[in-house]
Amino acid sequence: MVHFNVYVISIVLVLTVLPLTIFSYVMLDYEQNSIFNHALTKLDRITLLQSSHMQTYFQERIFDITATSDLSMLRENFDILVNSEVDSEEYIIAKDILTHNLLRIKNTYGYSEIFLVTLDNTVMLELTSHLYTDDDHSKLISQIQNHSVDDVLISSIHYHDPFHELLFGKLITSYDGEDLGYLLFELHMHDFYELSSFEFEFENTGETVIGNYNDEHSGIDFISPLRYSETYSIDNFEESALPMKLALSKETGHGVSIDYAGNEILASWTYLPLLDIGIVSKQNLDEINTPFYSFLLVLFLITTALIVSVILLSLFFSGRLLFPIKKLKKMADAVSNDNFNLHIVPSGPSEIQSISKSFNHMISTLQEDRKTIDSQIHELEKIDVQKAEFAAMTSHELKTPLVPIQGYCEMLLESGLIGDLNEEQKEFVTKIQSNSSHLRELIERILLVQKLDLGKVNYSCNPVNIKKFMNDIYLDHSAMMNDKQIKFTNSTLVDFDFTFDENKLKEVFTNLIQNSVDFVPNNGKITIDAKKSDDGIVFSVSDNGIGISKEHQNHLFKKFYQVDTSLTREHDGLGLGLSISRSIVEKLGGKIWISSGDESSGISVNFSIPKDVS
């Protein structure tokens, strides 16, 4: 049985939560898409901004170098340095002019070093805090051979312990067209970052990284400081740093990927040809999704709150509905137990109130009906008793005149008392006598039934030996078998004492045996038996008479019941034997039943008497 509450809650949940869930799903999808797209756009913009930032910066530097107003000063004085005697007055003046001017450029643009190197790698001027060897200089020159923009040679960004640095260089020629040597600028990338205010980090996990291929160990060098690593150079990125790999393969794009630290990220990348580097802007997906998670949390909280309130409301309303129904049920149960002193105070919804009112009305009607029925039953019981008493009295009165009738007959028949009768007279008087005897027996049986009905029969139970009892029954009834030559058998095998009312059970046996005698044919068979059972004893009277159909078996124990009710029926009797037997057996706590099959195989009437009847 499913509770009403469950129905209500299920329905309300389906009606509210289901649409809400669908709505939430759609909303979530939309929200996630929009957050994702927004983040991509932002990363693209950052990448574009930072790369153009770098591009602009370096292009400005190139322009500065190319278009510097000091170029003529350089050509003139570099020529003197190359072609005049060292320590000559001319040389010293030229070096002073160059030193002064180049120092100004170094300070203005934040270069870490400036050199003037001849074609044969002789350093003519060196504005540096480091001491470089000749070998270093040849390396520097070889590095700037990479590519050039507007005649400015640019090296790749390389690591020169402890800094990443970039070299610019320009071939200086004299006014005569003679190649004099190189002017070299060295820029430390950290200085560039400071000067250009390049932003590496944004928000909590956002990062812009710059990288290029390291030819020396064929890995990726991260040039910029890294948020998740102290080392700039990371060799092995088999599975990670995918965006940087794509950027360095000169692609531009964006998407979900894995960064160098193995984080799941959303990234935007591009390649910067000017410096041969890749730029990647990225942010952890977790952070990007934070607003989505918040949205999800809010949605979850709202849904939960809604479900809880729906359940509570349903419980409240169904409770309001169910409480009066439960009250009604209690009342109905009480009414079933004959308690009519009830009144429901109508409460709850108006429909329930109306039921309560009808219920109250029904109770009062039932109460009145019950009163009527009770008084009628009482009346009927009284009438029944009166009827039985009347019948008993009538029977008694009917019997009374029979005693003198029989007495007179006897006097007539007694020889020598009032004169002898002739044979015919004797025969007639004998008939009167036997008929009145029969009438008297019938009346006595009716009287017994009435007494049994009225409960006026007394029982006295005593221990009886079953074997002896059954033998007595056998002997008492043997004479009845003579007329029809019936084979009468006592098949009792048991021998024990049992407590019951001996006379009453004899009466039962007499009735049953009489019935059998009436219904077995000449030379028929009647068997009596007694057997021990689980809770007492079972007696039986069986015969091979005409038997009885199932249809009649149910009615056999009713008073005055006859299988053949036609006026021409073969067997006389009042139909009281089985009824009397049943009354006695039941009064002794037992049962009586017919156990034999159909019409052809005779009948077996059994009755049980339980142990505990005293």
């Binding site: 003198p404 006097m411 006379n503």
Partner: protein, 118 residues
Amino acid sequence: MKFLFVDDDPSLSEMMCLFFEKKDDTLVIADNADSAYDLIKNTSFDSIILDLAMPKVSGVDLIYRLNKDGLMDGKKIFVYTAAPFSEKDLNELIENGIVTWIRKPIPLSKLYELVSAA
């Protein structure tokens, strides 16, 4: 011999009376317990035959009254009824041989035999 027959049915009493007359005995009739009590008190009977079911005072009550007043000594009382009794005291009297139970129905000759043998 002289008998007392106590019964409220006059036709039975009449028949009994005729029967005993024919036997050359005397049967005095009483149709209620009170007159029976008076007769027993004042007259000597060989036997008393008593119907137990009578209106007003029953045969059983009459026996108790006679027993209480000491009028039972030397008398034979026959109760004449069909069913066994439920009264314990009466059963006791029967067991002690003071009262004899004649179970109905019984042929007149048998009845006569019993009461006259006393």
